[in-house]
């Protein structure tokens, strides 16, 4: 890509990443949540690759890591739900203290679930992007 795109990307990519984290962690206070924030975070990674390009070996490493993170996100979401079964009475029981309305640490397990879903969605979308981008290496062979 041209130097304009590269410079703008350098400035913006951190902000986009932070905005995704904000959307995830404030999912129980403002509109948004794990799914939307995860998409924004994966968009920041995809923007980096689109602007600067990458090599085959780097994409392979990213592919492995994103698969691992996707599994971690999904499993932690299930674990939170299972903890409800162990500590409380039923699956998806809200076992944490609820706190005050409009505070960041409120509403029990909802922020934790949002974070788990955010990790899962961002890693999953990035893995799909890398897999589709890797087809050009397959085509070359």
């Amino acid at each position: 890509m041209t130097i304009i795109v590269k410079t703008i990307t350098k400035i913006l990519v951190g902000l986009i990443f932070l905005y995704g984290i904000y959307i995830i962690t404030h999912g129980h206070l403002t509109p948004g949540g794990g799914f939307a924030g995860g998409v924004i975070i994966s968009a920041s990674f995809i923007l980096l690759i689109l602007a600067f390009g990458s090599e085959e070996i780097k994409e392979k490493i990213g592919y492995i890591y994103s698969s691992i993170f996707e599994s971690i996100g999904g499993l932690s979401f299930l674990l939170i739900a299972l903890f409800g079964l162990i500590l409380g009475s039923y699956f998806f029981y809200n076992f944490l203290p609820k706190g005050k309305v409009f505070m960041l640490f409120s509403s029990g397990i909802i922020p934790l679930c949002n974070i788990a879903i955010g990790i899962k969605v961002s890693a999953g979308l990035f893995a799909i992007f890398l897999a589709i981008a890797a087809t050009r290496f397959i085509m070359k062979e």
């Binding site: 999912g27 129980h28 206070l29 403002t30 509109p31 948004g32 949540g33 799914f35 698969s67 996707e70 999904g74 979401f77 299930l78 739900a81 699956f91 998806f92 809200n94 609820k98 706190g99 005050k100 309305v101 409009f102 409120s106 509403s107 029990g108 397990i109 909802i110 679930c113 949002n114 879903i117 899962k120 969605v121 999953g124 893995a127 799909i128 897999a131 589709i132 890797a134 087809t135 290496f137 397959i138």
Partner: protein, 177 residues
């Protein structure tokens, strides 16, 4: 309401034409008429999002059907086949099942609330009590992650499965050439 009935009659007629007509291209087009009248029905009942999805899906299906027909043949040869006992038996069973289904659905539809008048038995509980019970400022988050946690788990599973599917199809290692 009257436009809905007109559209329903048009779509049923187009469906019968799609099954019975000999030319497959005309059959695909009358299938498109069914889909687009359903889309107009969605617009009339104030569901524009569903109407957009319906239009996209319908255009795609009709284009795929027309593409297949242009590549292969125009004429439906199955209409001229003679019916034997087995065909009559299956049609009879279908008709019997259809009559039973119609009767029970008439009985069930009498119990439903009036058109456009939701009962809000469970949703009103969420709206009234949700704020105190969950203490989340965003009630959508409270519904999708607390009241309906299973639903979100299913959604996450669907996403996980689709990611695994894409990675399996587009993988590089272990692919048979």
């Amino acid at each position: 309401m009257i436009e809905l009935y007109i559209l329903l009659i048009i779509s049923i007629g187009a469906g019968i034409v799609a099954v019975e007509i000999k030319d497959l291209l005309a059959s695909a087009i009358s299938l498109g008429i069914v889909g687009f009248s359903v889309a107009i029905m969605f617009i009339l009942t104030q569901a524009p999002d569903l109407a957009i999805v319906q239009i996209v899906v319908e255009v795609l299906t009709v284009v795929i059907f027309v593409g297949v027909i242009l590549k292969t043949t125009h004429i439906d040869t199955t209409l001229e086949d003679k019916l034997n006992v087995r065909d009559y038996l299956t049609k009879g069973i279908f008709a019997l099942f259809g009559i039973f289904f119609l009767l029970f659905s008439i009985l069930a539809l009498k119990e439903l609330p009036q058109f456009g008048m939701p009962i809000m038995k469970i949703a009103s509980h969420y709206l009234v009590k949700g704020f105190e019970e969950i203490r989340a400022a965003n009630q959508v988050a409270a519904v999708i992650l607390d009241f309906r946690g299973y639903d979100t788990l299913g959604e996450a599973t669907v996403l996980f499965t689709s990611v695994i599917g894409v990675l399996t199809i587009l993988r590089k290692i272990g692919k048979i050439k």
